[in-house]
């Protein structure tokens, strides 16, 4: 089965850094308030610990696990996905159920030359995040070529 691009890991780390930055701002806010209102000093320590842990989990650990878990494979008659941080999900989507495929790209993904791909059935949506743009386009056209929805079954 295929893994997603290693650049995807970098993008997730960037997301983590952005989130950590927001948490850091909140922590600084808490620190300032503590200073002004002379709250107990251990609040500084708690805020600092939270920021450090947040950075560790969301910049280092979680993206790494998520990236290592992600597997996908597009076969002739089905698509198989496998992913998940705490709960590992293995999803099977038969080609005949696929209704349409979209690629999408946010600003950060674009900067890294990546794109996400969303596979829609009549009722569910499934995403493969962070593929190299060319790969995503190729995959999209391949899936839409293979997908032949049997109308009466929907």
């Amino acid at each position: 089965m295929n893994q997603i691009s290693e650049k995807g890991l970098r993008v997730w780390r960037v997301y983590g850094i952005i989130q950590t930055f927001i948490v850091l701002l909140l922590a600084i806010g808490a620190g300032v308030l503590t200073y002004i209102f002379e709250w107990p000093a251990y609040i500084y320590a708690i805020a600092a610990v939270i920021v450090v842990f947040y950075a560790y989990f969301f910049v280092y650990l979680f993206p790494k696990i998520k990236w290592m878990r992600w597997r996908y494979e597009v076969r002739e008659s089905e698509i198989e996905l496998q992913h998940g941080l705490f709960i590992v999900k293995r999803t099977l989507i038969p080609m005949v159920r696929v209704q349409h495929v979209d690629t999408s790209q946010g600003p950060i993904l674009r900067k890294y030359g990546l794109a996400g791909i969303t596979i829609s059935t009549a009722a569910t949506n499934h995403e493969i995040p962070a593929l190299i743009v060319a790969e995503a386009d190729e995959l999209r056209s391949r899936i839409s070529g293979l997908a032949r929805v049997a109308d009466d079954d929907v």
Binding site: E76, S77, E78, G84, F86, I87, V88, K89, R90, T91, L92, I93, P94, M95, V96, R97, Q99, S120, T121, A122, A123, T124, H126, A150, D152, D153, V154
Partner: protein, 501 residues
Amino acid sequence: MFKERYQLHWITAVLSVLKTVKEMIIPIILLVFVNGVNDTGKWYLDYLTFLIFGFFMISFFITGIIKWKRYVYWFEDNELRIEYGLFVKKKRYIPFDRIQSLDYTEGILHRPFNLVKVSVETAGGSSSLKAEAELTAITKEAAEVIEREIAEAKRKKSVSPETVNEAETFEEVEEDVVPSVQTIFNMTGKDLFVLATTSGGMGLIFSGFLVFISQFIDILPLDAIYKEVSVFIKSGIFLVAIFSILSLIVVWGISVAMTFLAYYGFTVQVIEKDIVITRGLLEKKRVTVPLNRVQSVRIVENPFRQLFGYATVVIDNAGGGLAGEGAKINLFPLAKKKKVMAPLKELFPELQLEQPTIKLPARSKRFYYRAYSYVAAVIAAVVSYYLFPYGLFAFMVIPIIVLWGIWRHRSAAFELSGNQLTMRFRGISLQTVYVLKKRIQSMEIKQNYFHRKNDVATISAAIKSGALAFNAQVKHMELRDAEKILTWYEPKTFSIEREDQ
């Protein structure tokens, strides 16, 4: 060629005005309460809010009439065409092929004039949130004309060259000038009573009553009431008991009345290849579901009803929107479980409606209560600490959670039979889901850390229900079984599939 354009009945304008009035009545009442009538000496200031509201009412009234005047529909090129709009003229063309069914509603205002509201349901894209088009009020004759136009267009199409080789269907259409009608299910007055008594509606009305009271608690003269009540309580437990029983009876009465209004004359018929459900006392509803759009059949038994051998049968419809009306349909709102099997068999001959037999392994039992118990234990500990010693009673929740978990574990089961998957699981109510392989949109196996250590997994099948998905899940089952189901679901390569059939 000139095509005749039809208008809706004038009651449409009245209905649209009434709707806005209904929506505005609460703000008006609130305003009266908040503002009251102050006395500033200038009448137009005193009644300013009322003047503004009056202005809005009049403008809604006028727009209602204009909207009705502008709404026209006609038939052209095998399409139902609608033109409407107040400032921006909108046109909507719906090809007859795409129309899946017409659903009728007769409200109180419709009935004296022999009118119906027609909702046009299409073989929906997943983006459509409600019915494709709604004709708020037309005469029954006009509704019949629409139905005839659609039927005729479809018949013509079946003569077209691409389907000529299907001589069978062609002949069938020709013969069926008088459609075959077969009544499958009826609800008696007794059924309605049981339905009302055992439904969650009772609790809902009760809590609604409480909310209503709590809303007015500020306005009520509490002190006076308090005095009255203390006298009342002093006058004896007996009276209190009578009072609470009386209020229960009132709630029950309301529940029965509401059930009767909604479900009176509940009938399920099969007309050609459609299921037609009719119900309602004051507001009559008629919902049509083509048989080939039914995605799954679910038998739901809440514990109370299960005790008396009653069950509810629900079907998931691929059409219909988010609104819930068309998606999940109560096929048999309440019936003896023994009695539903025969009509279900008749409706869905390809389904095998036996109980699933493969149960879960003993080692998965703890997954059903362990996590909940830990959470409950922590909460109970906190409660006990602050409310010692009575807080200790909170620990009594834990055995209940464990028993509930064991119950759910025992209820869960599945079965694979040919192209059909049967899943049974319980939240509070027991649900048995019957679904064909071709109706499952996608499947998923889920495993958390503890699952992986114990070789158990949760399996989930996504079934289209309206615009959304219903996920049928058997939790914490044997991993090997879950994988077996996924392998069963995996499409075989084309050549093998041919051999299968």
